[in-house]
């Protein structure tokens, strides 16, 4: 999987690169408009992350450029602007997703995986993890063929874990993924704990293996070989 990260902040692009590399992606970084344009012209990628405010031009022009090329690349706009107009403009031009800064790397990774899955498997987006089987298009989970009945939040939580398997997820990142950013930190632990407890219980009931690990002081991790 080849990914192009177009982001002018060096530290941030390094963070994204490091995180995505450890997920097994092949990453390239462009830090200004011209080099990004050049790379888009020369190579093809599975996914491109585009920051809107770039030295030398707007990221939106790059989206336009990709669309003109009829490229099948997945495009995620990452922008510090966060204004509704930018979001609409980006999605109108044909980007696949829009992630306002600041975001969690785990959130980015989850969105990328969902996007790539959608693009590459053309509808057949099923995820298999040992005995577990997830069909995101139907929001259906089975364990050893038995259906696992989950609430919306439990399903979202499980999918988020699966998308970020073998990664430590902070409570803040989980809370933001599930409830947006109007959550109080003091409440987060209780919520997440309740949902995780229920999720674990349901998985074990269906004969699945509990792979949710508590990382003390920090958050949770879904381990899978």
């Amino acid at each position: 999987m080849k990914v192009l990260i177009i982001e002018d902040n060096k530290e941030l692009s390094q963070s994204m690169e490091a995180y995505l590399q450890s997920e097994g992606y092949l990453c390239e970084v462009a830090m200004d408009f011209d080099s990004a344009e050049e790379k888009i012209g020369l190579y093809s990628y599975d996914c491109i992350l585009i920051d809107i405010g770039l030295p030398g031009g707007s990221g939106l022009e790059l989206v336009q450029l990709l669309k003109n090329k009829r490229s099948q690349t997945g495009i995620i706009i990452i922008s510090a602007k966060g204004s509704v107009d930018d979001r609409i403009a980006g999605l109108d031009l044909g980007s696949d997703d829009y992630l306002p800064k600041p975001f969690h790397l785990s959130e980015l990774s989850a969105r990328m995986k969902a996007l790539i899955r959608r693009k590459n498997f053309e509808g057949n987006t099923e995820i298999r993890l040992e005995e577990m089987h997830i069909d995101p298009s139907a929001q259906r989970v089975t364990i050893n063929g038995q259906e696992l009945v989950l609430t919306k939040k439990e399903y979202d939580l499980l999918l988020y874990f699966v998308m970020n398997k073998n990664r430590v997820l902070t409570k803040n990142s989980i809370a933001e993924h599930l409830w947006g950013d109007n959550m109080d930190q003091a409440d987060e632990f209780d919520f997440i704990y309740t949902h995780i407890k229920n999720l674990r219980k349901k998985i074990i009931e269906k004969g699945g293996k509990d792979r949710l690990e508590t990382v003390y002081g920090m958050g949770y991790k879904y381990s899978s070989s």
Binding site: E11, L12, K101, P102, W179, Q185, A186, F191
Partner: protein, 425 residues
């Protein structure tokens, strides 16, 4: 009190005092001249007597005016004194018209002495002053009347002139009253033909332009500052995320990282809220449209279901199907999210929330502790309870700002252990 009213009042007071002083003065002067002429006529009578003496006529033969009384009486020589005039009061014997109750009438009296053939005569001539007194009071009355008319018409003319002169001033005042700094429009004042007002206009225009500019720079600064903070904050958070993936981190190290993550999360919430505030102020959300409130509020409440359950809150939702609001959809969502979040956050465990929405009015009430700061400050930025560590302290400031741009009136009150936020539009 209005300027014109005050000026008129002052004028009226001055006029009244002046009127009193002047009428007294008039009375004095006129009386003085009357007495003078009366005294002169008395003197003439004396001369008449004197003349009759010199013509060897007996005074008894003299004829006097009807209103005069003359008394001639011989007195010892040594009683002679200089002529003297007095005003005395008594009742004429012949006056039968006036009743007994009537006070004596004023008379002018001349006491003089005449020598004739070695005999000294004391001559007392009296003349009634009643007619001259009547005349005097009529004259003074007419004077006062004329003065009153003069002053009254002066006041009226003054009011009329002032109104005309101050017209442009009141126009300017009206313009300034209606002037809205955040609208971004320059203050435009009409030209005045009066130099002082023209000066005032130009000073006001220069001043408002300067304030306008400062205001814009200030607003831009907040937006730019929050925007610039966004990236470094994101860097911190991304590095924490990378760091926690390292194996062999001790639990203690994890806790430290969690604290840093929490703090940076909070910082980015504050930053986002500030950015949002300045964006609302800068009118970046102006795509107003008619929004049906029932689906919107139900959706938001749905998002809070988890927290409502966790806190065991009793939520009562009553939204009229026809309730609509003309507002930017993004702002509408933020407005109700913040209000509901506020009601959930500052609530007791097992408390209650009540949301009643009708066309033109929405009422959010929730149980909660009384504010430990001034009620009026509830919408101020960074104003929050000492006990509450949650939230950015900007949620209600954002609510207020949205209400401002959306033309919604919002009121807060605390009654029977409940916080009430009432929106009317």
């Amino acid at each position: 009190m209005k300027l014109l009213q005050r000026a008129t009042l002052y004028y009226a007071i001055v006029f009244l005092v002046l009127l009193m002083v002047l009428s007294g003065f008039f009375y004095g002067i006129i009386q003085f001249f009357f007495l003078k002429s009366l005294d002169e006529s008395l003197l003439r009578e004396k001369q008449k007597v004197d003349y009759s003496f010199s013509a060897n006529k007996h005074p008894d033969q003299l004829v006097f005016d009807a209103d005069e009384e003359v008394e001639i009486r011989p007195v010892p020589l040594q009683e002679k004194q200089a002529d003297s005039y007095h005003t005395i009061y008594f009742k004429d014997e012949w006056d039968t018209t006036s009743s007994l109750q009537v006070e004596s009438e004023p008379h002018r009296e001349l006491v003089t002495f005449l020598e004739h053939k070695d005999t000294l005569y004391k001559l007392t001539i009296r003349k009634s002053m009643i007619e001259s007194e009547d005349l005097l009071s009529s004259i003074v009355l007419i004077e006062i009347l004329v003065l009153l008319i003069l002053m009254g018409s002066f006041l009226l003319v003054n009011v009329w002139i002032s109104k005309r002169l101050w017209k442009s001033f009141y126009e300017v005042l009206n313009k300034i009253k209606k002037y809205n700094l955040s609208s971004g429009d320059a203050l435009v004042l009409e030209k005045s033909s009066i130099r002082e007002f023209e000066d005032l206009n130009s000073v006001l225009q220069t001043m408002s332009a300067r304030i306008q500019k400062d205001y814009r720079v200030q607003k831009q600064f907040t937006e730019n500052a929050s925007h610039e903070l966004q990236t470094p904050l994101m860097v911190i958070r991304s590095k924490i995320e990378l760091l926690i993936q390292r194996p062999n981190l001790s639990e203690d190290q994890m806790r430290l990282l969690q604290s840093i993550d929490n703090a940076s999360q909070k910082l980015s919430h504050i930053n986002k809220a500030l950015l949002l505030l300045s964006r609302i102020e800068n009118n970046q959300f102006s795509k107003n449209e008619k929004i049906l409130l029932q689906p919107l509020i139900s959706k938001i409440v749905e998002n809070f279901t988890d927290r409502v359950h966790l806190k065991k809150l009793n939520l009562e939702l009553n939204v009229a199907a026809d309730a609509m609001l003309n507002l930017d959809p993004t702002l509408a969502e933020i407005l109700f999210t913040n209000l509901i979040q506020n009601a959930v956050r500052h609530n007791f465990h097992g408390g209650s929330i009540k949301i009643v929405v009708r066309q033109g009015k929405a009422e959010f009430s929730n149980t909660g502790e009384v504010l430990d700061f001034d009620q009026q400050a509830v919408f101020e930025r960074f104003r929050k309870s000492i006990k509450s560590d949650e939230g950015t302290g900007l949620g209600l400031a954002i609510v207020k700002e949205i209400c401002n741009v959306g033309g919604i009136t919002i009121d807060y009150k605390y009654e029977s252990n409940q916080h009430f936020f009432i929106l009317t539009w």
